[in-house]
């Protein structure tokens, strides 16, 4: 690009040069903004997610009765390694047939417990009641208890849950 500094400047030349300068600013600024935006908006779930954890031996379970199990879950919070504890209810139907529910009430997140006499899950906070298969029977919960994927491992002795 040759800019003569002596010749009188035509308005067209001025316009073209302005366009070029503003264009460079827009393109570099735009590219940098996109890059930094993507960088800052990085999805929080990068690792972990969906790993199988041991929830306990099959011998602890009673057919048809939900049994609470605390699972120690190493939670990857970005670069930070925390150890979270999650409670799941295991429902064993004999053999390799096992299901698991989250203990978190779908209303406002309190922890439900199993009432063995009433054979229901009771939420202590706002009176949510769930059936043994997780259906809502009474109270405010909008959805059934969340199911957690569960299976008996190859040896047939241990229940694994996916958290």
């Amino acid at each position: 690009m040759r800019t003569s500094l002596h010749a009188p400047v035509s308005p067209a030349r001025r316009r073209v040069l302005s366009l070029f300068v503003n264009g460079v600013i827009a393109v570099t600024g735009g590219a940098l903004s996109v890059l930094l935006g993507v960088f800052a908006a990085r999805p929080s779930s990068t690792a972990a997610g969906g790993r199988w954890f041991r929830a306990g031996p099959v011998t602890d379970l009673v057919p048809g009765v939900p049994v609470p199990r605390v699972v120690s879950v190493p939670a990857a919070d970005g670069w930070y390694r925390a150890r979270g504890r999650a409670t799941v209810f295991l429902v064993w139907e004999g053999g390799r047939d096992v299901r698991a529910f989250s203990s978190t009430c779908t209303h406002l997140g309190c922890q439900v417990h199993w009432d063995a006499e009433a054979t229901r899950f009771i939420c202590p906070c706002h009176g949510g009641v769930y059936a043994a298969d997780g259906r809502v029977l009474e109270g405010p919960p909008p959805r059934p208890l969340a199911t957690v994927r569960a299976r008996v491992d190859d040896s047939g002795n241990t229940v694994l849950v996916q958290l």
Partner: protein
């Protein structure tokens, strides 16, 4: 419509006057490409500020997490590029600062009435180096850690205030958490504040008398900065940023292993722009060190600062300022030569970083015998080994294996105890594993590695790792054959009655003896 909005806004803010003042500076005729370096620097500073600000979104300035957080940053393409821009941007800033300075010197632009502008520019160069120095520690890898150890020790050489300045730089009793937060604060708060102030001063001083313009003033009318010179600036900036992006695309150089204060084998090397100083130190051993470390750089800085008063004549013509210019060029050549020498003078003892070291391979054997995979597995209680990264030290691993319940609640029965050397090897293996997956080795090599990592490493060096009480075994196979080595290891005194090495006949199985002897015999 837009015109009316603009007028409305202008009546309330007066922004048009500010914009005019900023953009319509009249530039003398003949102001050409040589005058684009200042704008390039401004653009680079903007990129550094933005990328730096965004890096703090993820970075954690603690010894426990700094390394992991940087690893987390570079785990995505965007993060890799952002860190790459910031990393190479630092080098670009240094390079273009020097070019900018050379332009000012050759054009004699520092002459009256611009002496203070020159001094503020020199202060900015110092600030750039301070940024580079403080930023270098933040990834908390071996390179960062040991380069900073050297920096702090150099500051001890400052006369009278040496110990005080080292204590100020270090913060705590040793290079650690207090140093890291201190350097982080400098890098992201104090130095940037100073930078903004100095840049404003530098630009205001530049604008006061206007730019110096071409060496020989030309006739003609002045042209406004925007869009005429701005177009040149924009083209130059676009070119430089493209170059920067091309380098940054593949990211900054890979992180070294996490900082390990106990690692006596690490040979620190500074970043390239400090190589000249690094090399200079080598020529001033012992008590003369202060000359190379403090005195010569200080004198060079002083000479630069005094340039406008040394080179006092009114003329800016380079031909009439040959003495000053040749002195500056000689200085520049000296710096470049020292940098090249420093670059080529790589330490011989450094371990080769391509192949897996025996310690790392040995660590894998211990990981298997200690049954780490029982918990460190995809379905286990703890993270798989390749995701751990090894930011912890040997003591932590020893403690963890001795009583995992303490450190990793939920694990009831501890595995077999592991000794310090095995812990060190496990650490080496886990750290290596965080960078690349295990390539696989022959069974014999694995067995030899385990023997080496458990028994030999205390006294013998192989590939730069190990103790120095016994001879270096890196190429022992050149002088000793397999049967001799086997006999020597089993019973040293049967080969050399004066041998100080203990006998290993009872401590190693026949298979282990065979493995280590043939491994060593193959080292040529």
């Amino acid at each position: 419509m837009i015109e009316r909005l603009g007028r409305w806004l202008d009546e309330r803010t007066g922004y048009r006057r500010i914009r005019r003042a900023l953009l319509e500076e009249p530039l003398p005729p003949g102001t050409g490409w040589a005058f684009t370096f200042g704008s390039i620097l401004l653009a680079l500073l903007l990129v550094q500020t933005l990328t730096g600000a965004f890096l703090t979104v993820y970075y954690a300035p603690t010894p426990d997490h700094a390394y992991d957080s940087v690893r987390f940053i570079i785990a995505t393409t965007a993060g890799r590029v952002v860190r790459g821009l910031h990393y190479f941007g630092a080098s670009f800033l240094i390079v273009f600062t020097v070019i900018h300075m050379m332009r000012v010197i050759v054009f004699g632009s520092y002459k009256a009435p611009r002496e203070i502008t020159w001094l503020s520019g020199l202060a900015l160069l110092g600030l750039m180096l301070a940024f580079a120095l403080t930023g270098y520690l933040l990834p908390w890898d071996q390179r960062a850690y040991w380069a900073t150890v050297v920096t702090i020790n150099i500051s001890r050489l400052v006369p009278i205030a040496g110990d005080t300045s080292a204590a100020l730089l270090q913060g705590g009793t040793s290079l650690g958490a207090l140093t890291l937060t201190r350097w982080y604060a400098l890098h992201v708060i104090f130095l940037p504040a100073l930078l903004v102030a100095l840049v404003v001063v530098h630009l205001a001083l530049m604008r006061r008398p206007g730019i110096s313009g071409p060496i020989r003033a030309r006739a003609g009318a002045a042209l406004p900065f925007y869009p005429f010179h701005a177009a040149r600036d924009a083209a130059a900036i676009a070119l430089v940023l493209l170059g920067l992006a091309a380098l940054a695309w593949r990211g900054a150089p890979a992180l070294d292993a996490p900082a390990d204060p106990a690692d006596a084998t690490y040979v620190p090397r500074p970043e390239w722009y400090f190589l000249a100083l690094f090399q200079l130190l080598k020529y001033f051993p012992g008590r003369l060190e202060i000359l190379g470390a403090i005195l010569l750089p200080a004198l060079a800085g002083l000479a630069l600062a005094l340039l406008p008063w040394i080179d006092r004549g009114p003329g800016r013509e380079p031909r009439r300022r040959l003495a000053v210019l040749s002195a500056v060029v000689a200085g520049l050549i000296a710096v470049v030569a020292l940098t090249v020498l420093g670059w080529r003078d790589r330490p011989a003892g450094a371990a080769p970083r391509d192949g897996w070291s025996l310690l790392e391979i040995g660590g894998r054997a211990f990981v298997q015998s200690a049954d780490c995979a029982r918990c460190h597995a995809d379905t286990g209680l703890a993270d798989p080994l390749d995701r751990i990264g090894g930011a912890r030290g040997v003591e932590w691993i020893e403690g963890h294996i001795a009583d995992p319940e303490m450190i990793a609640p939920g694990l009831r029965d501890p595995p077999a105890p592991v000794r310090e050397r095995e812990a060190a090897a496990i650490l080496a293996y886990v750290r290596r594993l965080s960078r690349e997956s295990y390539p696989g080795h022959a069974r014999r090599t694995r067995m030899a590695a385990a023997v080496y990592a458990r028994h030999c490493v205390g006294c013998h060096v192989i590939d730069g790792e190990g103790g120095s009480d016994g001879p270096d075994l890196s190429s022992i196979g050149r002088t000793h054959d397999r049967p001799t080595l086997r006999r020597w290891i089993a019973d040293p005194e049967s080969v050399d009655p004066d041998a100080e090495m203990p006998s290993f006949a009872r401590r190693l199985s026949a298979a282990e003896l065979d493995a280590i002897a043939s491994y060593l015999a193959d080292r040529k």
